[in-house]
C-alpha cells in the first residue's frame, strides 16, 4: 500500500497527540481530521453500512477527545484509537442485532444504488470496463468479509486494510499475538472458501490481479 502524505502525517503525529492530550482543541480537531477516514473505513468494512459506520466513527472520536488525557503512552495512540473503534463497532452490532435484523440484501442493494464504488476510487482504472469489474470485485469481497465471524472480520480488516502489525492488533483486542494470527489464518482461509463458493477462482480473477 503506497504511503500517502496523510499516512506519513499519521505516523509522525506524536507532537500533535501530546498537544491534544494537553487539551489543545485545535490539535484534537487535526487528529480527528487525520484519523477519521481510517476509522470510518474500518467501521464501514465491519458493517458494510454507511450510517452505522458514521455512528461508530463519531462515537469513537467523541470518546477519543474526552479520554485522550488518560492515554499513558503516546506511541500506542493507534492501537488505543482502534480499541475504542472496535468496542463501538461491537456495541453497535450487538444493539442492531437486538433491535432489528440487518438484511444483507437491503444493505447491499442500498449501497449499490447509493454510491457506486467507482465514484470514490477511480484513480487506477481509466478503462470503464475494468473500472466496473474492479467495483464488482470490491463488492463481492466486502460481502465475503461480512460472512466471516465478527472476531475474524475485525482481525482481517485491521491487518489487511488498516495495516496494523500483529502485535498492535493483539494490543487492540487484548489477546495474544498467536491468537490474532490464528484468527487471521482462519479468516483468510474462510475468505478463500467463500470466494471459491462464489466462483471467484484464480482463473476468473486472472485479469484482476
Amino acid at each position: 500500500m503506497a504511503e500517502t502524505l496523510v499516512d506519513i502525517a499519521m505516523m509522525h503525529s506524536d507532537t500533535l497527540i501530546t498537544r491534544a492530550k494537553q487539551g489543545d482543541q485545535n490539535a484534537q480537531g487535526k487528529l480527528v481530521q487525520l484519523w477519521y477516514k481510517r476509522i470510518y473505513n474500518f467501521s464501514y468494512k465491519f458493517f458494510l453500512d454507511h450510517d452505522l459506520a458514521m455512528e461508530a466513527t463519531q462515537k469513537t472520536f467523541i470518546s477519543m477527545c474526552r479520554s485522550l488525557a488518560g492515554l499513558q503512552d503516546v506511541a500506542r495512540f493507534k492501537s488505543w484509537l482502534y480499541k475504542i473503534a472496535v468496542n463501538y463497532c461491537r456495541e453497535e452490532a450487538r444493539r442492531r442485532k437486538g433491535s432489528r435484523a440487518l438484511s444483507f440484501d437491503i444493505v447491499w442493494n442500498k449501497e449499490a444504488e447509493d454510491s457506486p464504488q467507482w465514484e470514490g476510487s477511480g484513480h487506477r482504472h481509466h478503462n470503464p470496463e475494468s473500472q466496473y469489474h474492479q467495483s464488482e470485485l470490491s463488492e463481492i469481497l466486502q460481502e465475503a468479509l461480512l460472512e466471516l465471524s465478527e472476531e475474524q472480520r475485525e482481525v482481517v480488516i485491521m491487518k489487511e486494510y488498516e495495516g496494523l502489525k500483529f502485535r498492535e492488533i493483539a494490543e487492540v483486542l487484548n489477546i495474544s499475538e498467536n491468537t490474532v494470527k490464528s484468527r487471521m489464518y482462519y479468516g483468510l482461509d474462510g475468505l478463500k472458501k467463500i470466494l471459491e463458493k462464489k466462483n471467484l477462482t484464480k482463473d476468473t480473477l486472472g485479469y484482476e490481479l
Binding site: 481530521q33 477516514k37 470490491s138 490464528s182 475468505l191
Partner: protein, 285 residues
C-alpha cells in the same frame, strides 16, 4: 528436513513480519515443499484480490466535545433541575387553580372537583313511602290492573267499532259496483248479442277454413315429397341390384375362366406325365 512452520510463522512470513533465521527457515521450507508453496501462492493471490477493495472517501464532520473540566454549579445539577421542575409544575397548577377557581372537596364518600361555588342540586319532592304496607300495595296493584283492564276494554271497543265501520263501508262500495255492472249487462239489447254471436261464428268459420286450406296444402306437399323420395329410393335400389348382378356375373365369368385354365393345366400335366415313362423305358432298352 523435519522443520514445518507453525501457523503464526506462516502468517508473519506472509505479511513480512518474520525476520532472521525464522524467515530463512520458512523460505527454505517453501523451496522444498511444493504443496506449501502452492498454499503460500494462493494466500498471496487472495491478498492481491483483497487489495482491490479501496477506501471510501469521507469528510470528517466537526466534532464538538463538551468541556469536561468546566465546573458544574449546583443549579446545573440534575437534582436541582428535577426539584425545580416539580416546583414549577406545582406552582403552575396553583396558578391555574386560582384562575379557574377550582374547588376540591370531600364529604362522606363523595369527592367533588368543581370550578367556582358548587351549586346546590334541586331537591326532588320526597315520596312518602314509609306508610305503605302490603294491603296498600295490593290495592294499588288491583286499582292499577282495573284501570289497565278498563283502558284495554275501551281500546278494544274503539278498534271493534272502527273495524265494523270499515267493513260496512267496503260492503256498501262493492255492492254498489256490482249492482252497476249487473245493470249494465242487463241493458245490452238482443240485437247486439245476436250480432256479436254472428260475428263470432263468421270468425270461427273463416278460421276453420283457413286451417283446413293450410293443412291440405301442407299434406299435399308432404305426400309429393314422400313420393319423390320413394321414387329416388326405388331407383337407387334398382341400380344397386343391377350392380350386384353385374358383379356376380363378372365373378362367375372369372371363375369359369380360372376353372378352364386350371383344367387345361391339369390336362397338360397329365399328358406330360403319361408320356414320360415311355421315353425312359425306351432309353433303358
Amino acid at each position: 528436513m523435519s522443520y514445518k512452520p507453525q501457523e503464526h510463522d506462516w502468517l508473519s512470513y506472509l505479511y513480512g513480519e518474520l525476520e532472521g533465521v525464522e524467515r530463512e527457515k520458512v523460505e527454505q521450507y517453501l523451496l522444498t515443499n511444493a504443496a506449501a508453496r502452492e498454499e503460500y501462492e494462493s494466500f498471496k493471490r487472495l491478498r492481491g484480490v483483497m487489495s482491490s477493495v479501496s477506501d471510501k472517501e469521507v469528510i470528517a464532520p466537526p466534532i464538538f466535545v463538551g468541556d469536561n473540566s468546566r465546573q458544574v454549579y449546583f443549579w446545573q445539577s440534575s437534582v436541582f433541575k428535577t426539584v425545580m421542575s416539580i416546583a414549577a409544575t406545582l406552582l403552575l397548577l396553583m396558578i391555574v387553580g386560582r384562575l379557574t377557581d377550582i374547588r376540591v372537596s370531600t364529604a362522606g364518600n363523595q369527592f367533588t372537583l368543581s370550578f367556582g361555588e358548587p351549586t346546590k342540586p334541586q331537591r326532588e319532592v320526597p315520596v312518602q313511602v314509609a306508610s305503605i304496607n302490603a294491603e296498600d300495595v295490593q290495592k294499588m296493584i288491583n286499582t292499577s290492573l282495573q284501570q289497565n283492564n278498563a283502558a284495554m276494554q275501551t281500546s278494544w271497543n274503539a278498534s271493534q267499532e272502527k273495524l265494523d265501520a270499515s267493513i260496512r263501508h267496503n260492503l256498501a262500495t262493492n255492492s254498489g259496483k256490482i249492482d252497476r255492472l249487473v245493470r249494465e249487462a242487463s241493458t245490452a239489447s238482443q240485437d247486439q248479442i245476436r250480432s256479436y254471436v254472428t260475428s263470432l261464428q263468421t270468425e270461427n268459420v273463416a278460421m276453420v277454413k283457413n286451417y283446413f286450406e293450410l293443412t291440405n296444402s301442407e299434406q299435399k306437399e308432404y305426400i309429393e315429397n314422400l313420393l319423390v323420395d320413394f321414387a329416388k329410393y326405388l331407383k337407387q335400389q334398382r341400380n344397386d341390384d343391377l350392380q350386384l348382378v353385374e358383379t356376380r356375373l363378372n365373378s362367375l365369368e372369372q371363375n369359369t375362366s380360372v376353372f378352364k385354365e386350371e383344367t387345361q393345366q391339369i390336362l397338360s400335366s397329365i399328358i406330360t406325365t403319361v408320356g414320360a415313362p415311355v421315353q425312359t423305358k425306351e432309353t433303358k432298352y
